[in-house]
C-alpha cells in the first residue's frame, strides 16, 4: 500500500439542474517523499482533488488513505498552502506561523521550543527579516512564503499546495520555485501541488498527473519526470529531456484535452 492513496474518488455536487459530477474515479497512489504536480485546464477539478485530500471537501464515493488511515476531516497532518496565501491580516508574520505552531505543538513542545520552531520555519523561507510586519505590509511573494512557512511548521505528512504561485508575477514565481526546491531537498516532504504552469510542473515534480477536462474529470495520464536533482532552471532550458517532458505535457493539454470552447 502506498503512503497516500487517493482511491477511486467521485465528487458530485448537487445543483439546481441535477447532480454535477466534478470528479469520476480519480485514482492516485503517492509514495512518501514524492513531489506530485497535478495539472489540467482551469475548471477541471484539480482543486477539488486537493480539497478532498485536505479533508475540506468530502468525496461522494471512494476515499483517501494516508498511512492506511482514512482521511475524513481537515487536519494539520495535511497542511495546505492556499492560492491566495490566506494569512490572517490582523496577525504579524511571526504570529501567523506561531498560531499554527501553538496549535500543533502546544502540548509536545515548550514555549521556548515553539518560538524557536516558528523562527526556524520562517528562516527556511527567508522571511526572518519581517517578523513583525503584517501581511498588508509585505509583497505577494513574501505572503506566499509565510504561507509556506506556516504549512511547513505544522510538520505535515503531506504538504498540499493549491496553485501556490498562480497569483504571482513570473519573476517572483521563479524565485519561490527555487525556494520550494531548496526546502524539498532539505526536508524531503511528500508534496501534492496543483498547478496550471507546465514549466513549474516539470521543474519541481517527480511525477506529473495530467487531468482530463470536466465534468467527470479524471486522471488522464501520469508522466514520470526523470531529471536529476538539484535541478537548475537555466541548464534545463536547453536540456532535450526536459523539453521532451515539457512537450509531452503541452501535447496532452493542448491536443488531447483542448478546452471545448477555449475562453
Amino acid at each position: 500500500m502506498s503512503y497516500l492513496n487517493i482511491s477511486n474518488v467521485d465528487v458530485v455536487f448537487p445543483t439546481a439542474n441535477g447532480a454535477y459530477i466534478a470528479l469520476r474515479e480519480v485514482h492516485l497512489e503517492i509514495e512518501q517523499g514524492e513531489f506530485i504536480a497535478i495539472i489540467g485546464h482551469s475548471g477541471c477539478g484539480k482543486s477539488t482533488v486537493l480539497n478532498v485530500v485536505a479533508g475540506l471537501l468530502e468525496a461522494t464515493r471512494g476515499g483517501v488513505l494516508l498511512e492506511n488511515k482514512e482521511v475524513n476531516s481537515p487536519g494539520p497532518d495535511r497542511a495546505v498552502v492556499f492560492q491566495n496565501h490566506s494569512l490572517l491580516p490582523w496577525l504579524t508574520v511571526y504570529e501567523n506561523v506561531r498560531i499554527a505552531v501553538d496549535k500543533v505543538f502546544g502540548k509536545s513542545k515548550s514555549k521556548a521550543e515553539r518560538h524557536d520552531w516558528t523562527l526556524h520555519n520562517l528562516k527556511l523561507v527567508h522571511m526572518e527579516h519581517a517578523l513583525d510586519k503584517r501581511p498588508g505590509e509585505i509583497s505577494g511573494g513574501m505572503k506566499q512564503r509565510v504561507g509556506i512557512a506556516r504549512a511547513l511548521a505544522m510538520q505535515p505528512k503531506v504538504l498540499l499546495m493549491d496553485e501556490p504561485f498562480g497569483a504571482l508575477d513570473a519573476l517572483t514565481r521563479a524565485h519561490l520555485q527555487e525556494s520550494v526546491m531548496e526546502i524539498q531537498a532539505a526536508l524531503n516532504n511528500t508534496v501534492l501541488m496543483i498547478t496550471h504552469d507546465v514549466d513549474e510542473a516539470v521543474l519541481l515534480s517527480d511525477r506529473i498527473v495530467m487531468m482530463t477536462n470536466g465534468p467527470a474529470a479524471t486522471v488522464g495520464e501520469i508522466l514520470k519526470v526523470d531529471l536529476p536533482r538539484p535541478r537548475n532552471r537555466l541548464e534545463l532550458a536547453d536540456d532535450p529531456t526536459y523539453n521532451h517532458y515539457r512537450a509531452e505535457v503541452l501535447r496532452f493539454l493542448y491536443e488531447r484535452q483542448r478546452r471545448p470552447e477555449a475562453a
Partner: protein, 317 residues
Amino acid sequence: MGEETEMSKIIALALAPPVVAEIAPVAEVHQPVRVAANTERQPPASPAYSFPPVSKVRLRAAAIIRAMVLPGAVFLLVLAVWMLVNAKITSDIPTPAATWARALEIFGQPFYVAGPNDMGIGWQVLYSLGRVMAGFALAVAVGIPVGFLMGASRDVHQACYPLVQILRPVSPLAWLPIGLLVFQAKDPSAIFVIFITSIWPVIVNTSAGVQAIPQDYLNVARVLRLGKLEITRRILIPATLPHILTGMRLSLSVAWMVIVAAEMLTGGVGIGFYVWDEWNNLNVASIIVAIGLIGLVGIVLESLMNLAQRHFDYNRR
C-alpha cells in the same frame, strides 16, 4: 510596502534605464531654456534631469497656508451670508459680533448652577453626553451579539432582516411616545430613543462583517482544528472588528444627532432642551452658540471613534 525583495530590486534595475531615456527628450522639448540653464550651473553628470532642490520647509509652509486659507475663505463666505440675512431678511438673527459676545459670556461660566432649570452650558452638554453614552452602550451591547447571530446563521438573518429594514428608517422621535408610555419617565425614554435609533448601524455592520469573512480564514481554522471558542476569539472577532467599529462610529454620530431632538421634547437638563429654552426666551445668539458647540462635540466624538478604530482595526494600524 515592506522591504524590497531581491527580485523587486532586480525589476527596479531592469526598469530604470528606459524610464530615464523617456524623460530626457520630453524635458528637452518642453523646457529647452531651463535645461540649458541647468547645464551651466550643475555638474555635467546628469544635466538633463537635475532639478533645483525643493525646500521641505517651503513645502510644509505651503501646505499649512492652504489648510488655513481655503477653509478660512469658506468661513468668511458663511459670515457674509449670515450678515446679509441679519441686514436684509430679519434682524432677529443676531450679528456675528453679538453672537461672539454671547459666546464669551456663555463659555466664561460654563459650569455655574443657579437652580435645576438654570445651569451652565458645560452641564447641559455633560447631561446630554451621559444619555447618549447610556443609549449608545446599550445599542452596542445588544447590537453586536444580534449582528453576529444574523451574520453567522442564515435562518436568523432571514428571520430578522425584514424587521431591521422596516424599523431602521423610522424617525427617532416617533419612538418617543412609546418610550414615555413604557418607562413613565423622561430620562429612560430619551435613552430608549437613542438606543433604538443607534442600534441599527451596529447590527447591520456587524452582520455584514461576519458575512464578509473570507472562506479561506475559516479553512485555515479547519486545517488547524481550532475549536469553536478559538475560532470566535482568533478569527471571527478580529476579522469583524473593523466592521463593528464602523457601525459604532455611525451609531454614535446618529446618537448625538438624536439627543438634541429628543431633549427638546423631554425637557430637563441637556443641550437639546437648552436650545428649546433659549428659543422660548428668544435668545437666538445662545442658540447659534449651542449649534456651534453641538457640532464641536460631534467632531470630538467622531475623532474619539477614529482613534479607537486606528487602535483596534488591523487595516488602519
